[in-house]
Symmetry: C2
Subunit: 326 residues, 2 copies
């Protein structure tokens, strides 16, 4: 699946096109991987905006990038066997070749969706962003935006495990119910409701100690006015600004409220934690095995559904990790 | 000197009025202090905007607050002697009474201006903000706004002592020359020049590792676009927003640039470092004695000049610490 056009305004399925190519041959040291599933993240939309993003400069005619899980079909590497389930940057394609050193063998007893979700980049982002940047203490109030999303729904659950009171912000009443009834959030608010600002105030009587920001924009601005003294804002993403060619202005209250309330606002990228991924995966797996963490996903069948999955993700239709099974 | 009116728009001398009152009598445990000098800080303007500021709610008819140095004229406290030079929250008045436990004896061999400047709240703000929040490493580029101000001119000099390359932003060519020629800044830029943004880019070829922000507003926005990976923004004040009744919008680039460049932006108030003031004062005094730190001040004679000094400070006329000798 190739990038057919750089999106002008909101992303459309026609910004991508199917392309048939011969199955690649693995060279010495390489392996051939047949994709089983891929995941799509909202941050990838930023990668289609140009060189300003960490996702790198986009290019028409290239295979759309992304993380996947696949089975090894041919191996020229001594440590990788045919049939192994591996994680790789497959991109949106059925077959891809990789250096054998760069694919990691996965536990085949686990659903591949988990390897791309709670144990993938989404889960590691939630884990390191919350524990290393946000650092919630027991009894703290943790606010999360895009709280039904791939990262947000895990952030809220981790915060609960760590003893925090958790308030999620989502885009629909259905998502809000799901967070409270199925995932144990204390409160969930629909940002589209008329009295959202008042609802956020009422939901945070002891104000907010950690705000995990996946959206930027108006929710960030509202959260700034609710931060506690010495609060922390984890800047993880700016989903409100991705699917547009004209991002809005900055949040009022910066820097005045940061000074008055001694708030720390810190951006991070999970890639900086690469040497600690094993630690993060072990902890997340332990919480899953203990029944304390329930990863959710929205699934699509067939690579040809990937563009629609991406559009749905950006429109806020999906819940949890967006997975395309190939 | 009383608050006569809460400023509507820019501060005017007529927002204050002289008031004669009997010299107060110190009660048991108290001391009577005759003010020798006071200092005025830009942050005090925020205190006249209402309850939103850390400086507390202002009130018409109250004595204008502020830090001062004075001589003890009468003492009902065993540890304070008549004639001692002390630091106290004298406010804008000739005589004031204080609990003897709350006034600290000062080295009388030093000019009182230093006790209110480099060894006062301004100096401690520069010291803790830069070393604890900004944490410059040798070779880092440190950018400072309001760099000729009471805090800024010390921040730049401390950063030089710590081995950084220092770029100051000021409001006039005269101030820029002073910073480079007298205080050892590597570069100083006039924010009012036509090509300010380009000049900032040219002055920071290795980008900015620490931005010490005293102004907020457009300079903060420009600085955000120049931050290095893992850069730190010390949010110390928002002078650009103080002298107005209608503060502007927030800086573009928040939160997107914070994420992409993993930037930490952190507000602080020096009062949180109260238990470490002795450490800060010792270090600042040592640098002064070694000739590495040259505190500057702009001086006014007579308490009746305090309102004009405050107006000049906010207009950017003063340099270094603003001192009113009484």
């Amino acid at each position: 699946m190739l990038i057919a056009a750089l999106p002008d305004g909101a992303l459309k399925p026609s910004d991508f096109e199917v392309h048939e190519a011969p199955t690649p041959e693995p060279a010495a040291g390489q392996v051939l991987v047949r994709t089983v599933a891929i995941t799509i993240g909202a941050g990838q939309r930023a990668g289609l905006q140009g060189s300003a993003s960490y996702a790198g400069a986009p290019e028409v005619g290239r295979v759309m990038g992304g993380s996947g899980v696949g089975t090894v079909e041919a191996s020229n590497h001594p440590k990788v066997a045919v049939g192994d389930l591996v994680r790789a940057d497959t991109g949106w394609q059925e077959y891809s070749v990789h250096d054998g050193d760069r694919v990691g063998a996965l536990d085949p007893s686990l659903d591949p969706a988990h390897h791309l979700g709670a144990l993938g980049i989404n889960g590691l982002t939630a884990y390191f962003g919350l524990t290393d940047i946000g650092r919630p203490q027991p009894g703290d109030t943790v606010l999360v935006s895009a709280a039904a999303g791939s990262v947000g729904h895990l952030v809220g659950q981790i915060a609960k495990v760590l003893g925090a009171r958790v308030v999620g912000v989502v885009g629909s009443d259905d998502k809000a119910r799901m967070l409270v009834e199925r995932l144990g959030f204390d409160v969930a608010l629909n940002r589209r409701s008329d009295d959202f600002r008042n609802a956020m105030r009422d939901a945070t009587p002891k104000r907010v100690d950690v705000y995990f920001d996946n959206t930027g924009g108006p929710i960030l601005e509202s959260a700034l006015f609710r931060m506690n003294t010495h609060g922390r804002i984890v800047c993880c993403g700016a989903a409100s600004q991705y699917d547009t060619s004209s991002p809005g202005g900055g949040p009022r209250g910066v820097p005045g409220l940061l000074v008055n309330n001694r708030v720390r606002m810190e951006g991070f990228l999970v890639f900086d934690y690469a040497t600690r991924y094993d630690e993060g995966r072990s902890q997340m797996r332990a919480w899953m095995d203990a029944g304390q963490l329930h990863p959710e996903s929205t699934e699509y069948q067939g690579l040809e559904q990937a563009p629609q999955a991406f559009v749905d993700l950006l429109a806020g239709v999906t819940v949890g990790t967006t997975i395309v099974r190939v």
